[in-house]
């Protein structure tokens, strides 16, 4: 799912090519994002759009030859002139009188041409990794392979792949090599996948034509010098010192020739906007604001000693479990720090729970891109590849981090509590100078585990992600002031982080404190159990089977399967009642009905139902299964397919408590499920007790930082 959808999309015809553009309406100056076509398209700016669109009006477009634009063939159809004409057409069609041009790589040459030919349309320019001929020294590897461009090579490799025949016949080989070389930063797997997949949306022939078109109407050195000398536009150049496409010297050359600002990013490669988006976004914002004089706002600063203690609490919206445990921690924290103001930066469905509890929700919460919506969009049937879903959530996490960062920069928070707020922890390690306040990281699992079906490639990816996290913490131990594992050392999955990496348990014991599990409620005693059962309308002797799929919206299929099993189970056990809870994201009306079956939507304090049931049928989520464990109820749990956390971490933890019956969704038909229900209803269990002081322990660890 995208982090932000455009206000409108349209195409404009430019010299018989349909050019697709998208407008994100807002007040303030317009920013036009120009992609270096046709090797990529507008999505190369996916990490910029949500942030910039919150502050400015943003227009993006796909250049000719890629994305949703036309695919003209022929060298002359990819000339500079044609590409500049496309930009003008997009400006006209989007009713943009003038804009700040943000361009990447060779698109900067178009931006320079545009500013020279249409100075009234260009307010200022941000040149990312620019390459304008004659300005700065190019890398030698380009000139070395120029002579073999048109040749047939028997065994091309490396930069020799920059060859018409290779590109036309095996585009993937060239772009995999090219982008693989550009992403010099470790842990760039996702950026590489993105860049290659966008490049493969064009054809080798078009890409080869566009490369040859760079030599059309080639101006002389003097002409280029004269052109840039008269630009008279504010310009910011951003360049990685490890750029192997356009050497950083070329960026410096452009800045020097235009008296522009030059920002060198050391350790960075060609794709800085994708790989270091936080820094690039902030540089663009500072430059635009300084250039246009907008956003001279009213500010308040409070003297240190006159400030109230303040905490910003973030609770992951993926599943409903975090919200309740975080409320329990906050209740304990208030007992220790009664004068501390606690704001929540949170989104649906967490905000529903917080609203009901009367908590203070920071207004910026309304801007957050939906993480639970993304997760729901990633699920299919009883299948959620949550590792890949998290990887594909990259632009949403970034968009939300940029909002978070603005909140903490304005809010004078003493304490940031991030319960699996991946964006905060990840991007503060990537941009350590941005840290504000003490940071408490909470999680109930450590380590990405590959699903066996994913084979060696998935193992490579999870190892890479785990390695990045380990390196982050080793390099910047000052980012996490406290890391709390919601559980006990025995709950940690007994495996390593991957080849060459430590055992998860060893590393976690070294880097985390342990709060024990936090249920957020006290299980009812036998008297209370009878009371709740009566409240729920359960008759003496009735056997109640509660079916619930949590809050993520993934689970319709399991509900349907259990509902299908119900008549068969009921036939064997007439005293069986079934209560199905669809949760906040599934419409109860969408579920099939059966006589004797109750279907509810969102149920407040669902744990009351669960804590008195005779059997629960649930997914493999940690919160619900641990609630059942704490309440000592029998349950069948079906981990989502491809969900590493449910299949490995949760299953292992439940094993520690001796709790629950593991079920395989795809191997269980309604008949087998009916048998399992009948077999386990009312079963006496002997689970290891779940601690009840977890929230107090976590709160005490947090309060030490205040």
């Amino acid at each position: 799912m995208r982090a932000l959808e455009p206000s409108r999309t349209a195409t404009v015809d430019c010299r018989d090519v349909a050019i697709h553009y998208e407008v994100y309406e807002n007040s303030g100056p317009t920013i036009l994002l120009i992609p270096p076509s046709p090797i990529t398209h507008s999505r190369i700016y996916k990490a910029q759009v949500p942030f910039l669109a919150r502050h400015y009006r943003v227009v993006t477009f796909d250049g000719r030859g890629n994305g949703k634009s036309g695919r003209p063939v022929g060298v002359s159809r990819h000339s500079r002139e044609e590409n500049v004409a496309d930009i003008v057409a997009v400006l006209d069609a989007s009713e943009t009188e003038r804009a700040i041009m943000v361009a990447h790589c060779h698109a900067n040459w178009w931006a320079v041409d545009l500013a020279a030919a249409h100075p009234d349309r260009v307010v200022a320019m941000v040149a990312i990794s620019p390459g304008v001929p004659y300005l700065g020294r190019p890398h030698r590897h380009w000139s070395e392979v120029a002579s073999t461009w048109d040749s047939h090579l028997d065994d091309p490799s490396g930069w020799g792949l920059f060859n018409r025949e290779v590109i036309v016949t095996d585009l993937e080989r060239w772009v995999s090599f090219f982008f693989g070389s550009q992403l010099i930063e470790p842990h760039s797997t996702k950026q590489l996948e993105d860049a290659v997949s966008w490049a493969l949306e064009t054809t080798g022939e078009i890409l080869a034509d566009s490369e040859e078109a760079q030599d059309l109407d080639l101006p002389s050195r003097e002409e280029v010098a004269a052109q840039v000398a008269t630009l008279d536009k504010p310009i910011l150049v951003i360049h990685g010192d490890g750029d192997v496409c356009q050497s950083a010297d070329k960026g410096r050359g452009l800045a020097d020739a235009t008296s522009g600002e030059f920002h060198l990013m050391t350790g960075a490669g060609h794709l800085v906007a994708a790989r270091d988006p936080v820094k690039v976004n902030r540089l663009i914002q500072q430059f635009v604001d300084a250039t246009t004089g907008v956003n001279m706002k009213t500010h308040t600063w409070s003297r240190g000693l006159s400030r109230q203690k303040k905490a910003l609490y973030m609770s992951s919206p993926i599943g409903l479990g975090h919200a309740r445990r975080d409320l329990a921690i906050v209740e304990e924290l208030r007992a220790l720090e009664p004068d501390m103001q606690i704001d929540w930066l949170a989104q649906d469905p967490v905000t529903k729970v917080l609203d009901r509890a009367g908590e203070s929700i920071h207004p910026a919460s309304a801007w957050l891109a939906s993480e639970s919506g993304h997760i729901a969009s990633e699920a299919s049937g009883h299948d959620l590849h949550c590792f890949q879903a998290l990887r594909r959530m990259d632009e949403i996490l970034l968009a939300n981090f940029m909002i978070f960062q603005e909140v903490v920069e304005e809010g004078t928070y003493d304490l940031i509590v991030a319960d699996e707020a991946w964006d905060v922890d990840h991007f503060w390690h990537e941009n350590p100078e941005l840290k504000r306040g003490s940071h408490v990281w909470l999680t109930d699992f450590v380590g990405f585990i590959p699903m066996p079906e994913g084979g060696s490639h998935e193992a490579f990816l999870t190892t890479d992600y785990n390695a990045e996290m380990i390196e982050h913490i080793a390099r910047f131990p000052r980012i996490r002031d406290r890391a709390i594992f919601v559980g006990n050392p025995d709950d940690i999955y007994p495996e390593t982080f991957g080849d060459g990496l430590p055992k998860i348990r060893d590393w976690t014991e070294d880097h985390f404190a342990f709060s024990g599990y936090i249920t957020g409620f006290t299980p009812p005693n036998p008297d209370e159990t009878e009371e709740i059962r009566a409240d729920l309308g359960l008759e003496e002797g009735e056997k109640a089977c509660v079916v619930t799929v949590g809050g993520s919206g993934v689970g319709q299929h399991l509900l349907e399967k259990v509902i299908a099993a119900y008549p068969m189970a009921k036939a064997q056990m007439p005293e069986l009642r079934m209560i199905a809870v669809a949760g906040p994201r599934i419409e109860p009306e969408s579920l099939p009905r059966q006589p004797g079956l109750e279907v509810h939507g969102y149920v407040d304090r669902l744990h009351r139902h669960l804590s008195v049931c005779d059997l629960a049928v649930v997914q493999g989520g940690l919160t619900t299964t641990m609630e059942l464990t704490a309440a000592g109820r029998p349950f069948l749990y079906f981990p989502l397919k491809n969900h590493f956390e449910q299949n490995f971490h949760v299953r292992h933890r439940l094993g520690q408590y001796g709790a629950g019956t593991y079920m395989d969704y795809s191997a269980t038909d309604p008949e087998a499920l009916a048998d399992a229900i009948v077999a386990h209803v009312g079963e006496t269990v002997d689970y290891r007790p779940v601690e009840t002081d977890g929230a107090a322990r976590a709160a005490a660890m947090i309060a030490e930082l205040i």
Binding site: A290, G293, M296, T298, L305
Partner: protein
């Protein structure tokens, strides 16, 4: 020892009055730090000079009556227009075409007067706790307007000491009281000592001359609305001398930015110098180049 030493410390003569000025650094643009009420002199900018001079050319000068300037006793020497003329004389002397101008308290009046009479010499105006009577004075200080020229009672307290006769009889005590009110922030001993020390470099007859400067009262609201340069107002919410609402109004009328300093008193540049320095820098960097 000072944190920064001037490149140039000179004096100039404007219509018979000697004024001392200092130039620090040579970056662009020039920041002209105006005098304030002459009870203190240009050293009240001491927490700004070293930092700003690392980035810009900074000019400070003493107004008539304190510091290295003459202890002028002619009330006409202390009108806002006279201060604006002093500032222009300093800019001329240093051959500065235009500058970003900053003033604290009464310096806000002087800055507005300067930007009004010579708009092409002021590229931006910063007003810190400006003494612009755009809203009513605080009730505690209304006694000043009723009692200033009358004899003071023997058991005079508080703002009753803001009294001409009391100044002549107990100048040091008045000064001590006045700055205790300027620095409403806890733990302000050093700031108070500094200000009292600078105040003791002048005397009550100078303050008498300043307070007697002839009208007419300026139409500050109209002048603020007519300003053509970008403005920034910085005002402490606990300013006991100039109510915070005056700063809000000054920002609104001039269409400028406002930095509210929660918990700060009348002289945030002294007491919360880091934030004020960063705000000045941010303002200067955002000015059209």
């Amino acid at each position: 020892m000072r944190a920064a030493h001037p490149e140039l410390a000179g004096t100039l003569d404007r219509e018979g009055t000697r004024l001392g000025y200092e130039v620090y650094g040579d970056g662009e643009p020039t920041i002209l730090l105006l005098p304030t009420w002459t009870i203190i002199h240009s050293r009240f900018w001491k927490m700004q000079v070293a930092y700003l001079a690392r980035h810009y050319r900074v000019i400070t000068y003493d107004g008539p009556g304190n510091g290295r300037s003459e202890r002028a006793l002619d009330p006409a020497r202390y009108t806002p227009d006279a201060y604006a003329a002093d500032a222009l004389a300093v800019l001329d002397e240093c051959q500065i075409e235009s500058a970003v101008v900053a003033g604290v308290s009464l310096g806000g009046q002087y800055g507005v007067a300067l930007a009004t009479t010579a708009p092409d010499r002021v590229s931006g105006l910063i007003m810190i706790g400006p003494a612009l009577p755009l809203t009513p004075p605080s009730p505690e200080r209304s006694v000043i307007y009723e009692q200033f020229s009358k004899p003071y009672p023997e058991d005079v307290e508080g703002w009753g000491k803001y009294n001409l006769a009391y100044w002549h009889d107990h100048y040091a005590d008045f000064v001590q009281y006045f700055f205790s009110q300027c620095f409403s922030e806890p733990h302000s001993t050093k700031a108070t000592e500094d200000a009292v020390g600078w105040a003791l470099e002048t005397h009550s007859r100078v303050l008498e001359a300043e307070s007697a400067h002839p009208g007419p009262e300026s139409d500050w609201a109209k002048m603020l609305s007519s300003l053509t340069c970008p403005t920034l107002v910085i005002h402490g919410t606990r300013d006991r001398i100039q109510p915070y609402e005056r700063g809000v109004e000054a920002a609104r009328l001039s269409g400028g930015a406002l930095l509210s300093m929660e918990g700060s008193g009348h002289l945030p540049n002294v007491r919360d110098p880091v934030q004020v320095n960063l705000a000045i820098r941010d303002f200067v960097e955002r000015l059209p180049k």
